[in-house]
């Protein structure tokens, strides 16, 4: 039967079931992925972010919330220019992490 509507997917991030393989692998080689304090400096300075929605801060969260596909899509915008790495107050090696995510 056609109802003209359907069940909408839950917007909840279901932390019990999300797949964190990529993030956990990343954490092994880059323990500093844990140290983000979400200040947003990386996003504010991002060269690609000037033209797109690219945000490394969000990208890290996407990986931690099981949205790997979204994260990988976002990386495609990156120019690897390294400004984010320079401004990160926690000294996170962002360029390396970006590359490692795609490995």
């Amino acid at each position: 039967m056609e109802f003209g509507f359907c069940l909408s997917p839950s917007s909840h991030v279901k932390m019990d079931t999300i797949d964190l393989t990529t993030f956990n692998r990343l954490k092994e080689t880059n323990p500093d992925v844990n140290t983000c304090i979400a200040c947003g400096s990386c996003t504010a300075t991002c060269t690609a972010g000037n033209f797109t929605e690219m945000s490394f801060r969000q990208l890290l969260l996407m990986l931690q919330r099981g949205k790997e596909d979204e994260a990988k899509k976002m990386i495609q915008r990156c120019m690897l220019c390294g400004k984010c790495t320079l401004v990160c107050p926690r000294g996170i090696n962002i360029r390396k992490i970006l590359l490692d995510i795609t490995r």
Binding site: H12, V13, M15, D16, I37, A38, L61, M62, Q64, R90
Partner: protein
Amino acid sequence: MKENILIIGGGAAGMEAATQLKKLGLNPIIVEKSDKLGGHIAQWDRLFPAFHPAKDVVEQMLNNVKDIDVRLNTEVTDIQRNSDGFKATLSNNDTIDAKAVILATGFDLFKAERKQEYGYGIYNNVMTSLELERFFRTGKDDRINNPKKIGFVHCVGARDVKVGNTYCSKVCCTTALKQACEMKEVFPDAEVYTFYMDLRMFGPGYEDLYLKTQKDFDVKCIRGRVCEVSEDMDGRLVIKAEDTLFGKPLKMTLDVLILMCSMEKAKSIDKIQQQLGVANNSDGFMQNKDMYLGMNDSKQDGVFVAGTCTAPKSLPDTIGEARSVAVEVFNYINNR
């Protein structure tokens, strides 16, 4: 010069003030309602930011007050001002004549059951920060059975108009991270989450603790207040919160949830406070004369305040205040 100074409260502030007053040649008398000195700090296992055993600090303080007149299991039931100072009646019917009174009555921990949505007292595995300290001290708690997922909720009873406490309780952020690390030490395989609103790492070494928490202990800090806790069929806790940095609500199952309860002014002193004419400020703590130069003075002559009875404070803050109140009282006695 052996004037009596009545100190109500035998916690960190009371003990330290007494120690200093004794050194200054006065005669401090501590009235403590419980059966031992030390207050809340004596119930703590280790102290932030460096995981220093609280026992060391408490023992040192206790050692300092060895020769001081301490009345345990005693409360001040009545206090009257007279030409000579104050006359206090104690619950054991003793009376004390004192030239000055120091209120060092500290705080009550926020009653976690007041935040009904967290289910403290209803769900088996919800506990408070204080109870967790007891677990660290004794290694025993029925609620902690090799948990795999552990959650901490910050600001329980703080920054929350719904419970009438709009202030920040100052020490819970650092305490939460400390306890999160300690849980990770005890249960290395567990995942530990903290749900914070802001992480207020205000003191020396505190930010380092934060970094350590993230990097070495792999504690996951999620910005967002837990809004709802329920129990699933296995008695595990299902919590909901928003990851405000990610902009999405999240749901997860935890084995134990620890509520970081805020400080509220100790209620048991209300009557004495009233008799002395010491008002409360808008946060419900005792009003001091002013927050810069008169932090140890109440608005009443001869009545002094120290420690967390005026606002949430860390231990070093409290000790600092206890020392300064001793000097204030000393000057007050000398200039009378």
